[in-house]
Symmetry: C2
Subunit: 353 residues, 2 copies
């Protein structure tokens, strides 16, 4: 029985507790079982089965040698980054669903993990339950990844699907997404492409070993998309999607963008609707492979966290080396027009963010 700690008992943290309880037999068969010893949160959860395990001081977790794995699901950069770094430096494995921390501090955390013979795993940070990160890390190894194209934000994809299927305006579709809980009261991180941008930065770092700061990526959201844009796409036998894209150009430059894009209907991304996410990866000898699933949601995301936890448990004593990430501070070009082999154009101009 491996003892773990959960940092942050929100939607995903509680989801992890539920997934571990639901699938306890399967987990036991795979790795001898997982027990949640501590839950760190500012709040109390007197009604929850794990209410008695809530602590408010991270040092209790840090100083408990029984805790081998810490699952960080707090959100935000701080103190999530600081706690993750401390845990890694004390030799504990860290699993996260927090894309902001991975996109901002991945290089430092991967380095700390490597220095301490442990791992920093983040499958749940991109694409919810879609196992895209392990696929790119393990299954596509031996391939040079040439290009990644993803629909990485479920909220905007839901809004665009609604605009197309029922003729709603952008603001009507957004209100609908908010009423269903798919969009936040302040939807700007989704609508303006910032969330998708962080995710493509993570995928690009895995593919190319270089983390581009998200603020350097040409990012256009869907805020100004009109029903006219949607019907223009249809007239061109295409669908309008918010596509996040990273390409390695022949000169080695990494070119990245997030923007509303006319995707031809014969491209598999065109058929990805509602809150679903998909990532299309092109390998030099593999060709195109696509991974599709729900990009968010408590249980799918928690399932991805759990897969990482089991991976750490199974490799105890000899964690495989992870690829380290360099930081790229150079100017990143936006995509040249001839890179749009499977697309017919972008809509809108980049925002400052």
């Amino acid at each position: 029985m491996t003892k773990i700690a959960i940092l942050g008992f929100g939607t995903i943290g509680q989801g992890l507790a539920e997934v571990i309880a639901t699938n306890s037999e399967k987990i036991k068969a795979q790795c001898g079982g997982i027990e949640i010893k501590y839950v760190l949160d500012l709040r109390e959860f007197p009604e929850h089965a794990l209410g008695g395990r809530v602590v408010h001081d991270f040092n209790i977790i840090l100083n408990d040698p029984e805790i081998k794995i810490v699952c960080e699901m707090m959100g935000g950069s701080h103190p999530a980054y600081d706690f993750s770094l401390k845990a890694l430096n004390s030799g504990k494995g860290v699993v996260t669903s927090n894309k902001e921390v991975v996109a901002n501090f991945g290089p430092e955390l991967l380095k700390a993990a490597s220095d301490n013979n442990t791992r920093y795993l983040f499958e749940a940070s991109v694409g919810g339950g879609i196992p895209i990160i392990r696929a790119m890390t393990d299954s596509l190894r031996g391939n040079e990844i040439c290009e990644i194209n993803g629909i990485l934000n479920g909220t905007t994809n839901y809004i665009l699907t609604q605009m197309k299927s029922s003729g709603k305006s952008m603001s009507e579709a957004l209100a609908c997404a908010q009423s269903l809980g798919y969009a936040e009261a302040d939807p700007s991180a989704d609508i303006d492409g910032v969330d998708a941008c962080r995710k493509i930065c993570i995928l690009s770092a895995i593919a190319f070993g270089t983390l581009v700061p998200s603020v350097k990526v040409d990012t256009v959201g869907i805020r100004n998309i009109t029903t006219q844009d949607i019907s223009d796409a249809e007239k061109n036998d295409s669908s309008l999607k918010l596509v996040a894209r990273a390409t390695k150009l022949p000169d080695g430059t990494i070119s990245m963008s997030v923007s509303p894009t006319f995707v031809r209907n014969d491209n598999p991304l065109a058929a990805v609707n509602d809150v679903f996410n998909a990532v299309l990866v092109r390998g030099n000898t593999l060709g195109d492979v696509m991974f599709y699933g729900k990009g968010a949601g408590s249980l799918p995301t928690a399932s991805a966290v759990l897969a990482d936890v089991i991976d750490l448990v199974l490799c105890e004593g000899h964690q495989p080396k992870q690829q380290l990430w360099e930081r790229c501070e150079n100017v990143i070009s936006s995509l040249p027009s001839d890179a749009f082999s499977d697309y017919i154009g972008r809509v809108g101009t980049p925002i400052a963010h």
Copy 2:
């Protein structure tokens, strides 16, 4: 530098040599490099760069302690199975693309690997370059897999796509597939669903730990599909696809079938066209995830073989334990009608095979 042997220098074997040559820098960075020391084949290849490494006696490979990994890409059950078993019993890792051997002898080969602290890996046996097997083994662990639905045969999917898009008859579309090299002169293994059946048996064994003999699976191919069937599907807002399916019923029974199926157009499998394959997996807490890509082809399939080889190299000295497969000899029910939640019906009656 890890030294490997290739058994069978046909399309995939030569593809592996090409992928290793093309991506040698990347491979070296990942695992220190891979060298093909022997190629076993009945033929000579005087024009090929590896022509000087061709041998005709398997014992040369078996008795060379430098060979840590054997890649079996011979096709057929024998001697592929026999050579694989001998290699595993001598402690060598074995990687295969041979679905017939995995579907027929998976339990024995996995047991031999386990007994000898090595592994038998077969990512390339299903879905070509699509990393479906590693995803189901590693990334979906911790989930109870409830159901698998796959378009697992590119030839039949190409034929059905042609019948739909250009109104060709079954025999016209087959002739077209043959002229393009997508179908063999004797197309029965594809057309009658036998190939798809072997693949769903492998996926089902990974998901449920039990290998169902392919001859026990209700199998209907596309031989008798007419343009009327195709248009009936369209009238029902569906697409006709050859769907291979495995479900675990509430009583623990595994229910499997291969049959032409009306797939609703809102199911992501409906948009999978031409020679592409896709596998839709439902986990109890993960929900639906889909994996999509070219299900065949020399370089994509060889890329999957290479990923397995690198995995074996990276784990040298402490290969993770693989799940063993039981054999299931009990009667398998065909799917009950109420299992077709995302479908509207099957077309045709099972063949004997």
